[in-house]
């Protein structure tokens, strides 16, 4: 995902002279080396100073540039949140905040770097759009689409390279979710590579050759804000059961967003939220071990499926 980010920005910058990068000492981690040397005057290095970087990005954006503010999500939007609120969101500056290393997938880096609160921090800010791509291909589509929006946005990246499953022919549209797999029994909604667990669960159930095995409808809610409520409503009116799966804290996550929105529209459904429950992350060699430890892996999803059926 990170490499595709660097490549996409490089490609877009070739024809779009308005694209600037404001970076906080994470150039190599975000594969921005080429951008920095090819477009030296459009690569603004702020050093380890994310608060300054966010407001510099806002000022720069106000002179008509499309600015990518690049860092890890544990620093931006976490460390500089109040600057993002005032200088970027309140002033409605066209800054795309790129936060890498989100979620447990950061693996070895541990609790300080496994950003599990970024969706909570960003989806509450007025004017800010929030996107979390499923994989590198969707990320490319999100970046390419977002530069046409004048609004600020937060785009959530993960650290490792993950399998690409997003259908190449499908565009990314702000405020639209993509049904990755249609089904009739249970709606599974989420964002980011953790949805691969849902696809795996479906494959697992399909293998059973049991006519009673539940059929999942898997929805990729990559546009977390604005949220595509109608696709979820349509799905739930069919299934009546919702599992939200996310590599994030339960508190402030997508599960809360969906539940609050749909319940206030008098829709009733059974609901299970699989997310990190009020805990900090931990180092692990394999991020999959963390999904197991925090109850987000295939095993837990299958037992949630069982539970929601009864």
């Amino acid at each position: 995902m990170r490499q595709v980010f660097g490549d996409t920005i490089l490609k877009l910058a070739k024809t779009n002279k308005n694209i600037y990068v404001v970076n906080a000492d994470l150039k190599s981690s975000l594969y921005l080396g080429k951008f920095a040397s090819w477009y030296r005057h459009r690569f603004i290095e702020c050093g380890v100073a994310e608060a300054n970087a966010a407001a510099v990005a806002a000022g720069l954006a106000k002179t008509g540039k499309t600015v990518f503010l690049t860092s890890f999500s544990c620093f931006s939007p976490a460390l500089n949140w109040a600057v993002i609120k005032q200088s970027i969101c309140l002033n409605n500056a066209n800054v795309k905040i790129i936060g890498s290393h989100s979620g447990l997938l950061s693996g070895t880096l541990g609790a300080t770097h496994q950003m599990l609160e970024d969706i909570a921090l960003t989806r509450c800010l007025p004017n800010l759009e929030v996107f979390s791509p499923l994989d590198a291909l969707e990320l490319e589509k999100i970046i390419t689409t977002s530069i046409h929006s004048p609004r600020p946005a937060y785009i959530r990246l993960v650290r490792p390279a993950t399998p690409v499953v997003y259908p190449a022919s499908r565009p990314f549209t702000i405020g639209k979710s993509l049904v990755l797999k249609e089904g009739k029994d249970i709606t599974v909604a989420g964002y980011g590579p953790i949805l691969l667990e849902a696809l795996e669960a479906q494959a697992h159930l399909a293998k059973k050759l049991d006519k009673k095995a539940p059929d999942l409808e898997i929805i990729n809610c990559s546009s977390i804000k604005p949220l595509d409520v109608s696709t979820l409503k349509k799905s739930l009116s069919k299934t009546g059961r919702l599992i939200v799966l996310e590599d994030h804290q339960k508190n402030g996550g997508l599960g809360e967003a969906i539940a609050a929105t749909l319940l206030s529209q008098n829709l009733t459904f059974r609901f299970i939220h699989l997310a990190v429950d009020n805990q900090f992350g931990h180092s692990a060699k394999d991020p999959k071990d963390l999904y197991n430890y925090y109850g987000l892996s295939l095993k837990y999803l299958l037992s949630a499926i069982k539970k929601i059926l009864n």
Binding site: Y20, I44, C46, G47, A49, A51, N52, A53, A54, A55, V56, A57, A58, G59, L60, A61, K62, T63, G64, K65, A82, V83, K85, Q86, S87, L90, N91
Partner: protein, 272 residues
């Protein structure tokens, strides 16, 4: 017999706007006052010296930038913008009410305001971004001395030096007070001018109520160079109203009594 220096033309504006400021605060019932009174002459110099062309409905394409970093100084900015014709003087009466575009902290809802602020320490970075993105114009910023306790100001100071933002001018309203007391007691800034010099800036120290000095310094700051300029304006907290001067309790004022209001008016009229 004492010989008086000839009155600077902007002093007449200063006297009348100080009264506007007092009226605004009195009518609003609750507003910041000590800081607006200390910084007023700086705002007047920016908008009435003809040294800069700021954004207006008549000038939407070719303009210098002004970032008020210390958003609580908004009352001073608003009385100056009203005088400069950005909006009708009558707007001042409804300061900080729900239907008014003039919010208590500087807001772009008010015509002529380029940056919404209120949380201290962010404006200099924003102004640096403007300076970088629009090198053909000046980017001015107004900060306070207390605000320099925020680390972000120093991040911005480093940044402006690195990118040689010669078109960036940071005016510091150095009135020596903040909400809870004297800056010297709360968290001393030490030698502010020396700090900016060490950060690689040009520094000019002036009396922030002397228009001749302010304008001379602004002209100097405008000269082409690779160095950002810090203009340290030594000012008087609560300037012009005897019982407010140097008293940090008047950082913000709630329900000023009629007696004190009259006394304040008296002070300002004598100054006239």
């Amino acid at each position: 017999m004492r010989l008086l220096a000839p009155k600077h033309p902007l002093e007449t504006i200063s006297t009348s706007l100080r009264l506007d400021l007092l009226n605004l605060v009195y009518q609003a019932g609750e507003a910041h006052l000590g800081g607006p009174l200390s910084s007023l002459d700086l705002f007047i110099s920016l908008y009435f010296s003809k040294l800069f062309k700021f954004y207006s409905t008549k000038n939407k394409a070719n303009f210098d930038h002004f970032t008020l970093s210390a958003g609580h100084l908004a009352p001073a900015l608003y009385v100056v913008l009203a005088k400069a014709g950005y909006f009708p003087h009558s707007y001042l009466k409804n300061f900080a009410t729900l239907t008014s575009p003039l919010q208590a902290h500087a807001s772009t809802t008010a015509p002529g305001v380029e940056y919404s602020s209120g949380a201290l320490g962010q404006g200099l970075s924003f102004a640096a971004g403007l300076a970088l993105g629009d090198p053909g114009h000046y980017s001015l910023c107004l900060t306070t001395d207390g605000e320099h306790q925020e680390g972000q100001v120093w991040e911005a100071a480093m940044f402006a030096k690195k990118y040689q933002l010669g078109n960036l001018i940071n005016i510091v309203d150095h009135n020596h007070y903040q909400i809870d007391g004297a800056v010297e007691d709360i968290m001393p800034l030490g030698r502010l001018a020396a700090k900016y010099l060490k950060f690689g800036w040009s520094v000019i120290s002036i009396n922030g109520h002397n228009f001749t000095q302010i304008i001379k310094a602004l002209k100097k700051a405008k000269q082409k160079s690779h160095y950002p300029t810090c203009l340290i304006a030594n000012t008087i907290f609560g300037k012009g109203i005897s019982f407010i001067q140097h008293d940090y309790h008047y950082h913000d004022v709630k329900n000023l009594s009629e007696a004190l209001y009259s006394r304040a008016r008296q002070d300002l009229k004598i100054a006239k």
